[in-house]
């Protein structure tokens, strides 16, 4: 049984839906976004296999990610959690020699289907990476605007959507007077929130997060987790994490993976307090991994 993280209760109280605060640290304000509550979309993975050349990394996976929920993927290093998530937005195939087979349906459309444009898939399924990666040659504003500029958003609309995205992640107060400065001039936690702003600026339907906090300090981690909690209400979230307390804090349900297969998928509380599979139990109690 995992000792509960003592901060968890306080965190849920801290997230407010109020307007932007005047002081430097903002609470995330998602009401500014054009996305309605409950607007997330469900993802279903069916019969997914993924290969790196001849290495069979994902061996037939079926998972349902319910809309407007956060699902955590946990498992030891090398179990395939990042690979699986990258198959959802078809980033896996960017690696030379890598390929994926199976079905990944967003609502009822298979992203691997015939005639589906992979760049549209990626716009609709956003991704936040482990290491914050703002574009180093772009300013804070340009970073958030990057995805919008691709789809030809015009400048007034652009400015508004950038501001909204920054408000939504709670960065607005901290950066509103230095939007022209390089994105890399921010702290690690701010950079990651900047990347999240960049991702939600294009209004995706699902957000994938590949260990988004593992490069951040504990305080920055908490801010990002607070943000994830807020984002849940409007997006569907899949978050890969090796931090089980994080999964317990943030995710409604949790998937445990091992060696490219799904071992268990259940509400988070059950996975940690009453796992059905013996391997799950050994992992969550820290016996390996």
């Amino acid at each position: 049984m995992i000792p509960p993280d003592t901060n968890t209760e306080e965190q849920t109280e801290m997230s407010t839906a109020g307007g932007p605060s005047e002081q430097a640290q903002d609470a995330p304000d998602l009401s500014a976004l054009g996305v309605k509550e409950g607007a997330g979309h469900a993802i279903k993975v069916a019969g997914l296999h993924a290969y790196y050349g001849s290495q069979h990394a994902i061996k037939g996976i079926d998972i349902s990610f319910p809309a407007n929920e956060a699902t955590a993927i946990i498992g030891p290093s090398g179990c395939g959690k990042s690979t699986m998530v990258r198959c959802i937005n078809r980033m896996h195939e960017e690696i030379p020699g890598a390929r994926a087979e199976g079905e990944v349906t967003l609502d009822d459309v298979n992203v691997y289907g015939e005639g589906v444009d992979v760049t549209t898939v990626r716009r609709m399924i956003g991704m936040v990476f482990q290491k914050p990666n703002p574009f180093p040659t772009m300013s804070i504003f340009d970073n958030v605007a990057a995805g919008l500029r691709l789809s030809g958003t015009k400048s007034d609309n652009l400015r508004e959507r950038v501001h909204r995205a920054l408000r939504a992640v709670g960065l607005w107060g901290e950066v509103k007077n230095r939007l022209g400065e390089p994105g890399t001039g921010l702290s690690g936690g701010q950079q990651q929130r900047l990347c999240i702003a960049r991702t939600i600026a294009v209004e995706p339907e699902v957000i994938l997060m590949d260990e988004p906090c593992s490069a951040l300090d504990p305080i920055a981690t908490l801010k990002v987790e607070e943000l994830i909690d807020e984002l849940k209400s409007r997006y569907t979230i899949v978050i890969v994490t090796h931090n089980m307390q994080q999964a317990a804090r943030v995710a409604d349900s949790t998937v445990f993976m091992l060696d490219g297969e799904v071992i268990e998928h259940a509400p988070t509380k059950d996975v940690f307090t009453n796992p059905r599979d013996e391997r799950t139990e050994r992992y969550v109690t820290g016996k390996f991994g």
Binding site: F129, K131, P134, P136, T137, S139, D142, A146, C195, R198
Partner: protein, 340 residues
Amino acid sequence: MEAGATSAPGGRSVFSRSPVSQLPDQVLRWGLTGLAGAILALLAYFFVRLIGESGNTFSTFGLSFVFGNDWDVSRSIYHGFPLLFGTLLTSVIALLIGVPVAIAGALYVTELCPRRVRGPLTILVDLLAAVPSVVYGLWGVFVLGPKLLPVEKWFASTFSFIPFIGGGTATGPNYFVAGLILAIMILPIVAAIAREVMATVPAEHKEAALALGATRWEMIRMAVLPYSRPGITGGAMLGLGRALGETIAVVLVIGNAPVIGTHLFNQGYSLAAVIANEFGEAAATPIHSSALFAAGLVLFVLTLLVNIVARRFIARGEHGRRGTGGTGVTVTAAPAGEAA
């Protein structure tokens, strides 16, 4: 262990080596250091001697040597602006043609082409650098020049309304052919550096662009090119340095006319070409040879400066882009974000 075991007879510690056995090490060390220093001293000495030989020219003509427009051997007047003009013009042509092609090639090899083809393509482009300049000259005189002439003539007459580029009569050897051959010669240098720089673009930036729904070209535009810009600029400048100093290929195809050509397809001259061309006859005339040395000095200083600036760009390209704390990071041309 007995006390005093570390003392050998004679009071010397067991651990110290005899002075004799240390000799080879000392000799090697100071010998090599001296060698390195000697190279530097040699360079400095050459530089000083070159200045010495040029002194006559600069005291006679002063700055007109560089900026005056009258290179007349028969009257012993050496105002070398036509030379400088030709050097700069052909080098600019080389950059305008060679750099985009080099960048395109480098982008293709690093981002687009199938992995198996990458190696052979790279070697093929690099082989261009192995061809000796006299062979480029030979090919230029007998193949490229003649084949281009009809095209140049057509171009000059069709676009005669454009100054300098159009109009006039095209001659076989001319600025353009020289510039084109220089472009081919600098291509492998620029491409090699561009490739190296592009290969260091961190995958995370490329992934960030792709994950936002960018097409391949958009990803290149967003993540690869801005990141590589300082390095590519440095590579282009190294190419410039090469073009400025190239002698044999240019002297064979530029026409060696000591005037400022009125049109792109006219004959001209360059600093390096004049030295190679007039060296024989200048040996008898001190003022003439001094003028040629002065031309060499100008060339030397010019290429030195270009190279120094180039290396600064390349160094900046290698160190400038790391994670947080961007110092001196350039922002792309997109409008800077507005303050609320």
